[in-house]
Symmetry: C2
Subunit: 623 residues, 2 copies
């Protein structure tokens, strides 16, 4: 990996900072955040501006260029990678270390008095803008919105914004028509006396219109905005995408059923001026809903007195609670996904002893097997396929220069998932194809105990997911161990594999309570640096349950695993499991055998079926 | 309980609102918060302004009076009591119910345009002021600081502010001299480039100067402020209190050891003008530390550019981590407290069958027995002594009209504690003196399992207490049960029984991580409305522990119970306990027998010793 040569680029950028045609005075600094105008987690190549200017291509990082300095902040996952990808023009700012200044503090320490710091207001979220602006103005500087992106100005071969074909989803996949979704949204708006709602998150817009795209790898979304009023629906999208008659029909563009459900379409770029026009025509009591993580640019169009910035939009909340059709689709997707993984593991068992399987070829095989399943669209995130010490790198992605060969001597961890038209999957299994060490088994068993403690937890309605996080850690903590990531995230239905507003993590307090129909991952782990990594991840569905009592009529919830892939018994120190935990494993394996076995049989995948039966029938006396 | 007649008082208050001599225009509304100028949890009679104006004397509530309306907000604990204590002039605003408006929303709905809402800036915290002010100005009104309290203006027989005798504590009780505490504080100030620190919380000031008072019932504190600079220490207190030569000696008022440790004393009321003078003389880079919960009045004296408002002051953080002397004192206090309680329970066992013991007489007996112990000062909070259905009222305090007789048929819950010169106690035991029902035993056992799950928890250094809260609930949740309060609070050492910055609760995210030397309560419960209440509370000390492994060298912590009072085995469904839980109970009882038994022996308290031995020797086959 050789670093990107950035001297000339920085020269050009600094020139643009001095001669910014959209701003009368020179800028003393320019901030280049990760991310796009929709605050997406994954971004399209045209939005990889931070990577373009500094060379570092990890998922998180912010670059800041001043007249004298260039610095890039990223977290512990990426220290090594960033230091390899950036040349000497750049200072790596290691976030999380005590000696590393915050971006604000660093700017204040290097800027001349009364400096102007520029940022593209479309790619900085309103809440981040607020914090940065406050810190800078407290020190006599000012943060200024530079409408035209200065990176784009020096990026000669910048890719086009993708405009992939849109896919309309029928009721058999979505379970709820876009008309019903709009009606529900408007009911929420009426309840809160809101007159306009601005949708900026790509997955929310895809969900609302029952449309999918492929603009961003792994995420079946498309670049768009939407503004919904009580009688109008405005969709902002590359209009060329709407020429397909079937699509026009789906959106009822030419013959809306009711006037208030008719969709007016506008070019993607016109959202700013349209929102301005809407705000200019507002009554004194009109209120506009927008997510507090939306771009600063769009947020500030709405006058403060009319703005109601909320952490989770009504679409985000509605989307998180899956309906019966979506749940059925997610179940089907997970059965197909389990078929592919059973086949993969049966294949690995045969092939590994030959010594020809690598992290990359195993990941490729997993993709190939998934792609044979009905309604497969693509992967839901880059496969983490890791052997031995690579498994301890939590966000590892095999590259030719790190690629290890699978063997009978090391632990193998594979975290992978796919997009099917009926659902999204995300599963991690940790296996040993030879004989695991006592320590590996011990750690695996603690992780399994944590996985079960969450999966089998019973908790009252209204409980937030973060209150369950410690259940996943208790067995590890008891032995002085832990893992430094959250325990679970929300999962979309043929949408983003990471979605809000719920999750299971010690890191947040702002998650929304878990509700029946929500879907999250349950993925505790343990990572022994330089040696091995363990993670056991199922996607689980929140379901109602009826324990013995019902305090204050609140009702109780628990989880049902959607992922149905055997958990390797060979890795368990079964003597560390309680009877309740053994029963959980046996019942889980019974269900895998029954449900996935039937599908393997139907698909005539004999080897995988044999493997499944072998892996789910615990040897007598062990479980 | 008959309501307070408030018609004439409200007339006078409204007249004061119209003719406020300190404010040119009339006020359309006046807010009367609970609390004093130090944001104390318990307050002195002279500060019970909300009670004076509306009659409601619960610990939490805010009254707002407009020209037409008078409304009082309180929470579910107090709905019944407030409705009984307030007359028809008042509307009870039931917080937590969906239909109840917030104070801001209600004000906006009833006020005429462009209204002025007054509040005493000394008794509203800076953060509350900010929120209220923002909401009101967003609706065209304004919140104004009325320096003279309008309740005081109409309160003819308002009590004097207490000025009790001060008690100096030597090193044998405090373990750290005030000079050392000042030096540590100044080191923190230097580290953060802070030039002045303003102490407003009464327990922090008492701790800093190793002084105690008795100005507020149950809390050994005294009314004072302190301002500490790098070379000066200013103490604001009723100067009459400082005439005692021993006290002057303790504070080295007449012969300070070093100039920078000399204490300048000022009248209590002059803190405002002194702080003004300090701020006026500040350099451009000077920064003043103040708690963000300090009064709006004092906070706003400090210009925003110089103000560093923090959630927990360095004194609050330092005070929370007890030193070896304090820990030893707390242990001694808990042994004495256990002696008193063993004697109480032995006495109850004999007396209850006679039918003459009531909630009130049992509480009085507990106080009498505690008062016989060395260095007893007073109770640390009003004793909750409750029988049967009264036990389900979480903040119950027996009154003549609710007083029940203890019997062999109902569960008895006593939550009580004391102030000793060497430490503060807080313990809850739930007992049955006849034969508990199967359901009572089942619930008690779930609560016990929760208590043990917290007490025996092992967790990494740096863990916040709120991450342990769910451990206390898991057994209850499994059966569909729960309790609607937090699990634990910080406990002071001969200081307030409730203190920050740590605790164990699902309600907060802003607690500071647990550290060895911190002391918290562990008190899960279960409350069956109309029937019984169960709570098992120990005060526990955070201690280091060494489990099998030590991930990333972080080290691990657990708890050591300081409370040593038997937990009634008769109330346990022992078949529901795991072996680990039984071992915990047996080990706990062994320690109670050994440690408290020795002290009972020493004090010659035979009956209590017999009771202790009986209660801590589990019948064979049950535990």
């Amino acid at each position: 990996m050789s670093p990107k040569i950035t001297g000339e680029l920085l020269r050009q950028l600094r020139q643009a900072m001095r001669n910014c045609k959209y701003f009368s005075e020179p800028l003393q600094a320019y901030i280049v955040p990760s991310g796009d105008a929709h605050q997406s987690e994954y971004i399209a190549p045209c939005d990889c501006r931070r990577e373009f200017i500094c060379g570092f291509n990890g998922s998180a990082g912010t670059a800041i260029v001043t007249e004298q300095h260039a610095a890039m902040w990223t977290d512990g996952r990426y220290f090594l990678q960033a230091s390899q990808q950036m040349d000497n023009n750049w200072t790596l700012m290691k976030m999380g270390l005590k000696e590393t200044p915050s971006q604000e503090d660093w700017l204040i320490s290097v800027l001349p008095e009364n400096s102007k710091v520029g940022v593209d207001p479309w790619i900085i979220a309103a809440d981040q803008w607020k914090n940065m602006s406050k810190a800078l103005s407290g020190a006599g500087h000012s943060l200024v919105a530079v409408q035209d992106n200065l990176i784009d100005a020096v990026w000669m071969d910048r890719p086009e914004r993708p405009s992939t074909q849109l896919r309309a989803l029928g009721l058999d996949y979505t379970g709820k028509s876009k008309a019903d979704k709009i009606t529900t949204l408007r009911a929420k708006m009426t309840e809160r006396k809101i007159t306009w709602f601005v949708a900026t998150a790509l997955d929310e817009i895809a969900w609302l219109f029952n449309l999918r795209g492929a603009d961003i790898e792994y995420n079946p979304v498309f670049f768009a905005y939407a503004i919904v009023g009580m009688n109008t629906i405005r969709l902002f999208v590359d209009l060329k995408r709407l020429s397909d008659p079937a699509l026009r029909d789906h959106l009822q563009l030419d013959s809306p059923s009711k006037p208030e459900l008719s969709i007016q379409t506008f070019p993607y770029e016109s959202v700013y001026t349209e929102l301005q026009a809407i705000c200019a025509a507002q009554g004194p009591k009109d209120k506009v809903w927008i997510c507090d993580k939306a771009s600063c640019a769009l947020t500030q169009v709405i006058p403060k007195a009319h703005r109601s910035a909320i952490p989770y939009t009504p679409l985000c909340l509605a989307k998180a609670v899956k309906n019966a059709t979506e749940i059925q689709g997610m179940k089907m997707a997970h059965i197909k996904d389990a078929v592919a993984l059973c086949e993969l593991f049966a294949w690995l068992e045969k092939e590994i002893p030959k010594g020809n399987v690598t992290e990359i070829s195993a990941a490729d095989k997993a993709e190939e097997l998934r792609s044979q399943q009905k309604d497969f669209v693509g992967l839901s995130f880059p496969t983490i396929s890791s052997v031995g010490p690579n498994g301890a790198i939590i966000h590892y992605r095999p590259l030719p220069e790190t690629n290890r060969t699978l063997s009978l001597n090391e632990v193998y961890l594979i975290d992978s998932g796919a997009q099917y038209v009926d659902g999204t999957t995300d599963v991690t299994r940790t296996m040993h194809f030879g004989t695991p060490s006592a320590f590996e088994k011990e750690c695996f068993t603690y992780v399994l105990k944590g996985h079960i403690a969450v999966s089998a937890a019973v908790f009252p309605n209204g409980t937030k997911g973060h209150l369950l996080d410690s259940f996943a850690r208790a067995a590890l903590w008891d032995s002085g161990l832990d893992y430094l990531h959250g325990t679970g995230h929300g999962v979309g239905c043929f949408l983003n594999v990471h979605e809000g507003p719920c999750g299971i993590s010690y890191k947040t307090f702002a998650d929304e309570p878990l509700e029946a129909g929500m879907i999250v991952s349950d993925e505790p782990g343990y990572y022994e640096d330089g040696s091995f990594g363990i993670r056991i991840e199922n996607v689980v569905l929140v379901i109602p349950t009826k324990p013995k009592y019902n305090y204050r009529n609140r009702g109780s919830l628990t989880f049902e695993p959607l992922t149905l892939v055997p958990i390797q018994v060979k890795m368990m120190s079964t003597e560390l499991l309680t009877q309740k935990e053994r029963d959980w494993v046996n019942e889980y394996h019974r269900k895998c055998r029954e449900v996935v076995g039937a599908e393997l049989e139907r698909q005539g995948r004999k080897d995988a079926l044999e493997w499944l039966i072998r892996e789910t029938q615990a040897p007598k006396g062990t479980l």
